[in-house]
Symmetry: C2
Subunit: 151 residues, 2 copies
DNA sequence: TATTGTTATACTCTATAACTATA
DNA sequence: TATAGTTATAGAGTATAACAATA
C-alpha cells in the first residue's frame, strides 16, 4: 500500500538533489581552507584530465556557458592555478591549462573529496557504493552529462 | 588495472553533483512556466508534507539557515503560494502554510518532477532505479539529510 | 539572557545578451 | 558573416552577522 499521495511517491531527482547538496556543501566547507570553491574544483579536475583546452571545450564538457567559464577561469588565473595563453594559430582562441601549483593542488583536492565521500558513503555496504557509482556513471553517459573520463 | 591516477579514481560526490545538477537544471527549465524555482519547489513540497511549520523547523528540515527560509518564504508569500501567520501563543513565532493555490500547485509540480525524472532515469533498468532510490534514501537518513517523509 | 524571526550584506553560481576581435 | 571569447547585467541561492521583539 502506498504511504504517500501518488504525486509525492518517488522523485528520484529530488532525493538526488538533497543528498548531492549535502555532500557538496560539506566538501565546500572542507576546501575553503585551500582557497577554492566547488565550481573551481570541477574546472580544475576537468582541466587535469584534458591537460589543455579552450574555454569553449570546457564549457561543453562541463555543461556551462562560455561566459561562466570565463568568470571561473578569471578567478583561477588570479589565484595562479590556471594559465591562459593565446592560440598562436587563431587570434580568437585561448588555451587554458593548469599551472604547476594548479597541478599540485588537484591531487590534494581529490584526496579531500575522497575523505568527504568516505564520510557520506562508507556507511553503505560496499556493494551499494559500487552500484551507486555504476548507476551514476551510466546516467551521466545516457544523458550526455559530459565530464566523463574517456577510459 | 586502474585507468586513472588513483586520486581521480572514484569521487562519488563528484558524479552525484554532475548528475544532480543536470536533473535540477532541466527541472528548473520545466517549472519556469509555473513561476517557481527549484528551491521554492523544495520548500513547497516540504510544507505539503508537514502542512504547517515555523520557519525554524523548515530550516532544520531542509538544511538551510533561518535567514534563507525567510527570503524564500517572502517570495512564496508574494506569489500567494504560502501564508505566514503569527503564532498566537508566542509573539516571536510565525507559522507557514500553503495557501489553496499553493496546495493546488504542488501536485502539478510533482507531476512535472515525475516526467523530468522519467526523462533521466527511464533509460535505467527498473532494478537500477529501485536500487538508486533505496540507496539515496538510505544516504539521506544516515547523513541526517532531513527532509525525509516519516512513513 | 536566550530564542525566533527578519534584515543587511556579501559572495558564488549561472544565464542571457551585447560586444570585440578575428576569421 | 560566423566564431571565440569577454564583458555587462541580472537574478537565484545561500551564508554570516546584526538586530528587534518576545520569552
Amino acid at each position: 500500500m502506498a504511504k504517500h499521495p501518488s504525486h509525492l511517491e518517488s522523485h528520484l531527482g529530488y532525493w538526488l538533489r538533497m543528498v548531492s547538496n549535502a555532500v557538496s556543501r560539506e566538501y565546500a566547507r572542507k576546501v575553503e581552507g585551500q582557497g577554492v570553491t566547488v565550481a573551481e574544483w570541477v574546472l580544475l579536475r576537468a582541466l587535469y584530465e584534458v591537460v589543455t583546452a579552450p574555454p569553449s571545450a570546457l564549457a561543453e564538457r562541463m555543461g556551462m556557458t562560455r561566459g561562466a567559464i570565463t568568470k571561473l577561469a578569471n578567478r583561477l588565473v588570479a589565484k595562479s592555478l590556471v594559465s591562459r595563453v593565446q592560440n598562436p594559430l587563431d587570434g580568437r582562441g585561448q588555451t587554458l591549462a593548469l599551472t604547476p601549483s594548479g597541478k599540485a593542488l588537484v591531487p590534494r583536492l581529490a584526496r579531500i573529496a575522497d575523505h568527504n565521500d568516505a564520510g557520506f558513503f562508507d556507511a553503505l555496504p560496499r556493494a551499494d557504493r559500487d552500484q551507486l557509482e555504476r548507476i551514476l556513471r551510466t546516467l551521466a553517459r545516457l544523458n550526455h552529462v559530459t565530464d566523463i573520463p574517456v577510459d
